[in-house]
């Protein structure tokens, strides 16, 4: 009897112990809590995706901007690339024709652009005759461009004669560089685009 009651007591204690243990364990998660967690994760995912999309867009925009900038810079460099002349000549040389034809395409793609064409001469010959020669060079370039159907009012001509050499040296190479027409964009120079065909 004594032994049986001891066993019962032990069992009771064990049960109590078990009961105590059971109470210390976390309660099973409620259904509501499970839903919140999923939403949070989804939101995070969405944000990440959004951020990625935004970044991609930004990168694309930057690329496009970069591309536009590059195109504008190239268009600008085509427009301002100088052309050169032979001694005491104002006729357009074959190499200058190519340069000027590239300008024609850019000028057509950018109808708002206006240009100042500045004629220069090398140091040889009279200062005054070279002023006339510079003007004739600028005018020959203008005539060539206008010959492609561009509006003459988009161009103004100027001469500096021999007063502004690119290369102050007195040798054939310097003189060849200095016999030139330079181009300055005087209007419509923002947001230049390249002609479609050349992209």
């Amino acid at each position: 009897m004594k032994l049986r009651s001891l066993v019962v007591l032990s069992v009771a204690f064990a049960a109590m112990a078990l009961g105590a243990c059971s109470r210390r364990q976390p309660p099973p998660a409620p259904a509501q809590q499970v839903d919140d967690e999923a939403a949070r994760r989804a939101e995070e995912e969405r944000r990440r995706a959004e951020e990625e999309r935004r970044r991609a867009e930004e990168a694309a925009r930057r690329r496009a901007e970069e591309e536009a900038r590059r195109a504008a810079a190239e268009a600008r460099s085509i427009l301002t690339e100088m052309v050169h002349f032979d001694f005491d000549r104002s006729d357009i040389r074959p190499d200058a024709r190519e340069t000027l034809q590239r300008k024609v395409a850019v000028l057509r793609a950018n109808p708002g652009v206006t240009l100042a064409i500045e004629g220069h001469a090398d140091e040889r010959g009279s200062v005054e005759y070279n002023i006339a020669l510079g003007l004739r060079r600028a005018n020959a370039v203008k005539d060539y461009l206008v010959g492609f159907g561009l509006d003459a009012s988009r161009f103004e001509t100027q001469t500096f004669g021999e007063s502004r050499p690119l290369d102050p040296a007195s040798n054939e190479a310097a003189w060849a560089r200095n016999r030139r027409a330079e181009f300055r964009i005087t209007g419509g120079g923002d947001n230049l685009v390249l002609p479609q065909t050349s992209q």
């Binding site: 005491d88 010959g125 200062v127 001509t157």
Partner: protein, 452 residues
Amino acid sequence: MRWLLAGMAVLALATPVAAQRQDTTRLPTGVRLDVFYNTMSRPLVAVRPFAAPPEAAAVAEQVHAIIEQDLDYSDRFVIAEVPEALKAGPVTLGAWNDLGVVFLVTAEVEPFGDAYMVRLALHDVPFGSLKEIQAFRVPPPSDGGFRMAIHALADELVRWMTGQPGMAASRIAFVRPRRGGGEELVVVDSDGENPERVANADLIVSPAWSPDGKRLAYAAMVGGAWQIAERNLETGESHTVVRAPSGAVAATPTYTPSGDRLVFAMLYGNASEFHEYDVARRCCMRRLTRSPGVDISPTFSPDGARLAFNSNRIGSPQIYIMPAEGGQATLLSPYVYGEGSYYTSPDWSPTGTKIAFHGKSRGGWFQIMVADAANVGAPVSQVTQEGENEDPSWAPDGRHLVYTSVRASGQGLYVVDTFTGRERQVLSLAGAKVPDWSPTLRRAAEFAMAGR
């Protein structure tokens, strides 16, 4: 001419002076040359130190230095060294005669109120006589007109000795780069002294003196637009003669010999015109010519009957002469087909007989040349040999030319005596361009005192 014979006799003893720089190997072919070095006609002249009381000694020394240098620069004389024994004391023409001196210049300089009196004397040594003596009242050295007054006395001595005009009392206008950008029009005395800024602009070319020496016309680019302006050097007043339309250039003004009108070139991209404007009345613009090429740099004969100018009508720039009222133009420069000859910047001499220009042929260097205005087709003289020489302008004596030069020994403004070939640098200056020599600005008569 009597001194000439004496001079020839003594010049055998004198040091050979004229530079013998005729280097025929450098001459471009196709140019017919007639360079003459008339060195035998330069008599020996001595300018004795000028006598002065102590208070005028420094001024006397300055006056002496200017006159002696002017006589040297006139290229008509050989200036003698003055021996110590002959520097002061009574004038003993016999001693000077022993030295081979043909003309002796002596002077006394004394204070005269707030000015100075210079009593100049010219002795004809071989004939043992006093040739001329005259007293002049000149401003003190502190006065801006001092040097020009002394130059006028030097010119008077030249006239006494040769009967010909001098060129010391004159100035040279030219253009140089300006510090900080742009260009400025500057005027200096014939000896390079007294630089004076007259105008500035983005670009300036073609300064031109009025025949009375009181005004300067020039072409300038101001804010991208070309114009011709005229400045009165006495009053400092300036006005715009003409503004070129956009895309055109107004350039190379020149005065008619009467001085009341300006003729200039209006350049368009594919044509050019000469226009005339009445600067006296400031009106009456009139077109004289029109050409499909570049017609530029008009210059009048002193009688106003003819005009020389530069034109590329045959494909390269050449010099032509035509009647001032229009008509047939005659080729003056020594053009030879196929030799790339190139001649520009004509200037008609004040004596009327010569036209100077610069140019080259067959890829040679640009040199200063002189053609006979009365004898088109006659040989052209090349008066420079060294380096690149451009834009000649005649001195009022009709024998010296100023021009720009770039050569191994230097660059700047140079002067050549077309009679002897003697050359000198007036100003050492990189970038000096388009010089124009004034007429005579002061005359000794303006300073002459009554009596002796």
